[in-house]
Symmetry: C2
Subunit: 293 residues, 2 copies
């Protein structure tokens, strides 16, 4: 039997818990968590993401601020704006929507946010602490995946886990987290990428596969063993005239052939996506709580 890892339902449950916690903070005379986001330019995807984050904040009772800046803004001006929000004691979490216009140095921008307010977990201090197993903000997608594994009670200890993709925001952190002495964790982890040879031979031995390779329907049924746990991070829009929207969404997993063999599998959409969204709220709440204590 294949069980669907329902990120939509789980994220709803977690949002309800967060909303409850916010009420409690306020009842105790505290201030609501406050997420501030900076959006530079008019990229439609970025606008959609930021709007979703605003909506999510509202849903759980967080305060939110979105600072919309023109694509023409200079790096210096942007850094000044970041400093201002970062120093605002009323702000608990500060994120800068990526990508940024080409004339702005992304690394400088990431370094300009204090690690204590970096709820995206992009600052090297947070990355380093995560790697060292110290308390830190873990970026949203890996945190969402770890939360999903934990909440579904999926056994990871001693399991053979294969991560497809070595990006700094998904593949690499999830590979490190799953190989740590923790629960979820304690997996034997293999990290694969574009230079990996015989990838099928590797995935066929995996108990858990995390696919974050950015190629739609890359993982096929003949690449996985019976009973594997499948986490699909990919999301690609494909034109589809039969749909009202004109497109459909595909993951990095060929669902029709992989799902019948899997013990657990995330759908696309409705799997890792909603978990990523709720993970940002979890981090913002955590930041608020750290400021209280």
């Amino acid at each position: 039997m294949t069980e669907i890892l329902d990120g939509k339902a789980l994220s709803k449950t977690i949002k309800a818990r967060i909303a409850e916690k916010v009420k409690q903070i306020v009842a105790e005379g505290g201030k609501k968590p406050h997420l501030a986001a900076i959006l530079v330019g008019e990229d439609p995807a970025s606008q959609t993401y930021v709007n979703s984050k605003e909506k999510d904040c509202k849903e759980v009772g967080f305060d939110s601020t979105v600072l919309r800046l023109p694509a023409s803004i200079s790096e210096k001006e942007l850094l000044d704006k970041i400093k201002e929000l970062d120093e605002n004691p009323n702000v608990d979490g500060l994120i800068i929507q990526l990508p940024l216009p080409a004339h702005i140095d992304e690394n400088k921008v990431i370094m300009a946010v204090s690690p204590e307010k970096d709820v995206d977990g992009f600052h090297p201090v947070n990355v380093g602490k995560m790697i060292l197993g110290l308390p830190s903000f873990v970026s949203a997608t890996p945190l969402g995946i770890m939360t999903m594994l934990k909440e579904y009670g999926i056994e990871t200890k001693g399991k053979n886990c294969v991560v497809l993709g070595r990006s700094n925001i998904v593949g690499r952190p999830i590979a490190n987290l799953l190989s740590q002495k923790s629960n979820p964790g304690d997996c034997t982890v293999t990290i694969c990428h574009s230079h990996t040879k015989n990838i099928r031979e590797i995935t066929l031995k995996a108990d858990i596969i995390v696919v974050a390779i950015g190629i739609s329907e890359f993982l096929k049924g003949d690449m996985v063993k019976e009973g594997a746990v499948i986490i699909d991070v990919g999301i690609t829009r494909v034109a589809d005239a039969s749909k009202k929207s004109g497109f459909r969404l595909l993951g990095d997993v060929e669902y029709s052939t992989v799902a019948p063999k899997a013990s657990y599998i995330t759908p696309v959409p409705g799997g890792v996506g909603p978990m990523t969204r709720v993970a940002l709220l979890m981090n913002t709440l955590k930041s608020r709580e750290q400021r209280i204590s």
Copy 2:
């Protein structure tokens, strides 16, 4: 044919290059690189390590300072001493010999050294930057291993690499470095540890094996395939009445059975050890050069 990865000889070559570079800096009116070390307490192994570092500095023409402090020093006093050396513009690299007495918080001490002077590469900022592929100080053992692979021209791209051990100072960084888009790098990396099952099945497929598991002679000949590259990080003293010193040194690799099958192998002693020592000098020189530019 098995080729010995001669860390002793290679480190000598690199030391000569560093000494040459120091002469050049001085000839141009610059100041010698300066490594400062803090040693707390009387641990004999720590004293030996610090003495070696002092000797290495002398050999390449670096200035060095060793601050020896009593084990009874308070955390606050130690942090003050660190601050003093860290702020001294004459100091390029600052290291605190570990372990520290139990009443001192190691993480606090590590965080007290500026990332720009943290030539041990222990600060979370340096760990995070290394993980993100940004310029950073990489800690001595992984840097020594990467340097050895590079200098011997060992092809790593697309190779299947297995790392035994997930420590923060060896296994985890080397696993991350070897899986990065770089040269050496671009390996498919599997990280194994105490919870890994069927370890022999995994090592038998490896083109490169890095053993940093802390169990002497753990890796045996029947666990490696013909032509594998073997990097042995382990070092254990074993009583041996036939030796003048009363002991002999063993690695984590059973050399007698593994070496005949290996294409390249590091001996113990004389392999990774000397490369670790020279890597600290490389980092200190790099710090000096960054201060010049």
